[in-house]
């Protein structure tokens, strides 16, 4: 039974730009359910990043309500919003945004350290599991500067997932990657989605759109269309591209499944 994690009702977002006010979002209504793999598509300036920022609680709506996992973000303090980001949201950035002075392991561990919920042993175990899932076990102690773009984005994905968030927000995750690496990253995310993580993308990359099960198209700050894609149609081009590539997320899936089953236990055990 799908229940809405994200609900937006009549959301406007204005940016004052000198004397004029730029209306970035106008009357946006949107619901996103658990387990979705949704893409917000649209040209530059259409308001997709603004929408993502509001859902990511790094920005607040001018009007309307944004509800994340049952919490009306309008009514939360700055502190509580930060806490909400820490515990319920995962972020994947266009430019990866890793902390340069920390290695891959430490970058992934960061949200857990901020949460202060797990002991050192539990943290290490979870980070190792994620490194394995994203295929970077051998690079655990490399700093971002020593990793390729695709490796960095995989570290970023692992960091977004390490706190086991309700929803992972990805802002143009493939924009800074070549097409092959981009495809691999998308396949990884699809595999992770199958294990239950909700993904929400903003992108104007048609390859990402192709893989989405739901595409929300934005034009001039409004939702132009909101269409569900057939899973087959979404997956088929990827399957056609590289069966071999599909194996690695599958392998990741195999390891992830028991971990996913553990999620509620892990969450309640602390």
């Amino acid at each position: 039974m799908p229940d809405a994690i994200v609900t937006l009702q009549g959301v406007d977002k204005d940016y004052p730009l000198g004397a004029v006010v730029v209306r970035a979002l106008q009357g946006v209504d949107l619901e996103i359910d658990a387990g979705e793999f949704t893409v917000i598509a649209g040209p530059s300036g259409s308001g997709k990043t603004t929408l993502l920022n509001l859902i990511g609680c790094v920005d607040v709506a001018t009007r309307g309500t944004v509800t994340i996992d049952g919490a009306n973000t309008h009514k939360l303090s700055e502190r509580d919003l930060t806490r909400l980001r820490l515990h319920k949201l995962g972020f994947i950035f266009q430019s990866f945004n890793l902390v340069g002075v920390l290695d891959a392991f430490q970058n992934i561990e960061l949200p857990l350290l901020l949460q202060r919920d797990l002991g050192a042993a539990a943290r290490t175990e979870r980070v190792r599991g994620l490194l394995e899932q994203v295929g970077l076990t051998a690079f655990a102690h490399h700093r971002p500067g020593e990793l390729s773009g695709g490796q960095r984005q995989r570290v970023a994905i692992a960091r977004a997932l390490v706190s086991q968030p309700r929803i992972v927000l990805a802002d143009e995750p493939t924009a800074n990657l070549d097409s092959v690496t981009g495809a691999q990253i998308l396949e990884l995310m699809q595999a992770l989605n199958r294990t239950g993580t909700t993904f929400l993308f903003s992108t104007h990359d048609p390859r990402v759109v192709e893989r989405a099960r739901r595409v929300v198209r934005m034009v001039d700050g409004r939702i132009d269309s909101d269409s569900a894609m057939s899973p087959a149609a979404a997956v088929s081009p990827a399957a056609a591209v590289s069966p071999a590539a599909a194996v690695s997320p599958a392998a990741a899936l195999a390891t992830l499944t028991p971990a996913a089953a553990d999620h509620p236990a892990a969450a309640t055990s602390v």
Partner: protein, 723 residues
């Protein structure tokens, strides 16, 4: 943990910035630690110097006096510190306080002493030789005296180039005329006819003209000498013997004695010897060279004193040393004094072996009676005779001019010189004046007024031999016609007596010895008169501040009318020295830390700007503002702790090293401040703590602004593109 790791990683990643800021912090902390250690050590050593030599821990003097007591640094002339009204009561009250070891009465004063005049000395020897009929010596001394007169005439001739003769006093003009007469051949033909007549002329008219150069300035402190030597642990007798308890006497400070009383050439050679022993060389040291040149230029200091016999011996010795046939003594001495590092030691020895025996090495000798001339409290000239018992020094301060400037005398001599008029005394004097019809007499007329026209000097001796300080006005002889008669009467010793005492100090000594110098004053008499100020010496380990409070409280309670100050304040300029150094150090540290602060602040602001995306990301993934702030502060603290510890460690190491080898005192002021030739500094945990605190404070302070800026970074910046 995360914060610490991030902090360390950040510091490590920006090595150069860290090194620069760290270097500043290290130097700053090092200076804080070393500075404090040195100041504390200096304070202690200075207290050793000052407290145990002259001031005691606390000085008390009359409350509400016009000037403040200053034991060092500035001359005491004319300072009005008043005097303690009732010293016996003060002493009793203060010695009853816990922690007080002794209360020593004191009186600081300045004086002038005329050193033995070489013409007087030689004339006395000539008179003796004539009396004994020693033909050879008589001839040598006669020629010597004649040469001195010749040199004196030359000097006066030089002087005329500078002085407007028309404005000379009658006295000066007559003096010059007398010298002209004595330098003439006719005078010396007359000498052979009537030596007595000629010698009298020389003694009375010529000798006073040759006196000016031998004026010596003295600083002395009149005190209860017995109690002083007991209470001031740095006091140490060098030559002679202590002043017998309760008796009159004078002890020269050894350094001052050497500097003022010793033959100038000999003194310079001594100083050269000392400096060479310290490792300086004649070749490279300007001061040594200057002394050597002075020795060559001032050959007269030697030739003046040599009679024919002495001159012959010295000539022979110098010819042998120099391998020269030169007959001119002046040229020989100049060649001899042109020394180098190789021959200095040998010539120094030769000077004392072959030349010094013919010289009057000291203007005043131990056992002599010294005539101290000074001004009384009321400003009138006075002079008092006192026997010189010996010389002393303050232990390990023997090279310090500051500690070496002050000589010691007894309370009675001090009081005679200070001449304070008590109400009783003033009344008595007035009665005497009215009764005797005393009047001011000018110097020119004094002889006639006192003894009649054909007076004999011997009579004057007998009159002047009356005890000084008796309060009775024996005679009023004006040195200056305008001087009021009360002051002159107060200064009981008259000018004629002083002159005669100079002429033959030993003879004077014997005369006084019977009547005054042998007298023993009891404690009541010592404590009973004028006391300008007093030193309060504490028992070891006593809290100085507590006693200072107690002294003030006791003064208020018992109405003693005292003002009490600690040794720092009492020592005047020198006592402020620590304060001055402290201010200099504090300023330097302030500058260093402000520079560190600005650089660190700047660096951190730049780092913050560079890390906007990183901080935004941290905020986006759930770091609270307080955590960002903590991250920056952690970085600052790590920096401060790391380099603060390094600086403090280096500082402690430096101080310990200095403690092991000692910091040499390169000049005499430092000898005094260091309480010896070397300072052995110490460092305490407090110094280290303050250093670390300063480093921490500066880093945290400099981080506050950039950290605040960082907390203002919105998480939304993480979402913005990479451009």
């Amino acid at each position: 943990m995360l914060l610490l790791r991030l902090a360390i990683r950040n510091l490590w990643t920006h090595k150069w910035k860290t090194a620069i800021v760290g270097g500043l912090l290290t130097v700053g902390t090092l200076l804080v630690v070393v500075g404090q250690a040195l100041l504390a050590s200096l304070d202690l050593s200075m207290s050793q110097s000052i407290v145990h030599s002259i001031s005691g821990h606390i000085q008390v003097s009359k409350a509400g006096a016009k000037d403040r007591l200053k034991l060092f640094g500035s001359p005491n002339d004319g300072t009005e510190i008043g005097h303690i009204e009732d010293f016996p009561r003060v002493r009793k009250a203060l010695e009853a306080l816990p922690g007080v070891e002794a209360v020593v009465p004191m009186g600081f004063n300045n004086a002038v002493v005329y050193g033995g005049n070489i013409l007087d000395v030689k004339l006395a020897a000539l008179r003796k030789a004539e009396r004994e009929g020693d033909r050879t010596r008589t001839k040598a001394l006669r020629n010597h005296v004649r040469r001195i007169v010749g040199l004196l005439r030359g000097e006066l001739g030089n002087l005329e180039g500078f002085v407007d003769l028309s404005r000379q006093s009658t006295e000066d003009r007559e003096g010059h005329a007398a010298v002209e007469t004595a330098a003439h051949d006719a005078f010396w033909q007359g000498y052979d006819a009537d030596p007595q007549q000629a010698m009298e002329f020389l003694e009375n008219r010529i000798a006073p003209m040759a006196m000016g150069e031998e004026m010596m300035f003295l600083r002395y402190i009149g005190t209860d000498t017995a109690r002083f030597t007991q209470s001031f642990h740095r006091f140490e007798l060098v030559d002679g013997k202590p002043i017998p308890p309760g008796q009159r006497g004078f002890l020269f400070n050894k350094l001052n004695y050497e500097d003022t009383c010793k033959h100038k050439t000999a003194r310079r050679l001594d100083k050269m010897q000392d400096r060479i022993a310290e490792g300086w060389t004649l070749k490279s040291d300007a001061e040594l060279k200057q002394w050597m040149e002075l020795n060559q230029r001032q050959y007269k200091e030697i030739t003046y004193q040599l009679d024919d016999l002495g001159a012959a011996d010295v000539r022979k010795a110098l010819q042998a040393e120099l391998g020269s046939q030169q007959a001119d003594l002046q040229k020989l001495i100049q060649a001899f004094m042109a020394m180098d590092d190789k021959n200095f030691a040998k010539r120094y020895k030769l000077f004392y072996a072959a030349i010094a025996p013919y010289l009057q090495l000291y203007a005043v000798n131990i056992g002599d009676v010294l005539t101290i001339n000074g001004l009384t409290d009321a400003g009138y000239p006075t002079s008092v005779n006192v026997p010189v018992y010996g010389t002393f020094r303050f232990r390990s301060l023997d090279k310090s001019a500051l500690a070496g400037a002050t000589s010691l005398t007894d309370m009675m001599t001090f009081r005679d010189l200070f001449g304070h008029m008590t109400a009783d005394r003033r009344e008595e004097l007035q009665r005497l004046q009215q009764g005797s019809g005393i009047k001011a007499v000018a110097r020119e007329d004094a002889e006639a007024a006192l003894f009649g026209a054909d007076s004999d000097a011997d009579e004057a001796v007998e009159l002047a031999a009356a005890p000084t300080g008796s309060g009775a006005a024996v005679a009023a002889v004006g040195r200056d016609a305008s001087a009021p008669s009360t002051g002159l009467a107060d200064a009981a010793t008259d000018a004629a007596a002083a002159d005669l005492a100079r002429l033959d100090l030993k003879a004077g000594g014997r005369r006084y010895g019977r009547e005054l110098f042998g007298r023993r004053y009891n404690q009541q008499e010592i404590d009973g008169g004028v006391v300008r100020h007093a030193a309060v010496v504490l028992k070891p380990g006593t809290d100085e501040r507590a006693v200072l409070q107690a002294v003030r409280a006791a003064s208020d309670r018992d109405k003693l009318g005292l003002t009490a100050i600690d040794w720092r304040e009492a020592s005047g300029l020198i006592g402020n020295f620590i304060g001055v150094i402290y201010a200099v150090l504090a300023t330097a540290l302030l500058v260093i830390f402000i520079v560190a602060l600005v650089i660190l602040n700047n660096t951190m602001v730049m780092a913050t700007a560079e890390r906007v995306r990183e901080i935004g990301t941290l905020r986006a993934i759930g770091a609270q503002r307080t955590e960002i702030l903590a991250m920056f502060l952690a970085e600052a603290l790590v920096l401060g702790a790391l380099f603060g510890t390094l600086g403090a460690g280096l500082g402690v190491g430096g101080v310990l090293w200095a403690q092991a080898v000692g910091i040499p005192a390169v000049n005499d002021v430092l000898v005094f401040l260091f309480a010896g030739p070397r300072l052995y500094p110490f460092v305490t945990p407090l110094h280290v703590g303050v250093g670390l605190l300063a480093a921490g404070f500066v880093t945290v302070l400099s981080t506050l602004y950039p950290a605040w800026l960082a907390t203002r970074i919105e998480p939304v910046v993480a979402m913005q593109g990479a451009e």
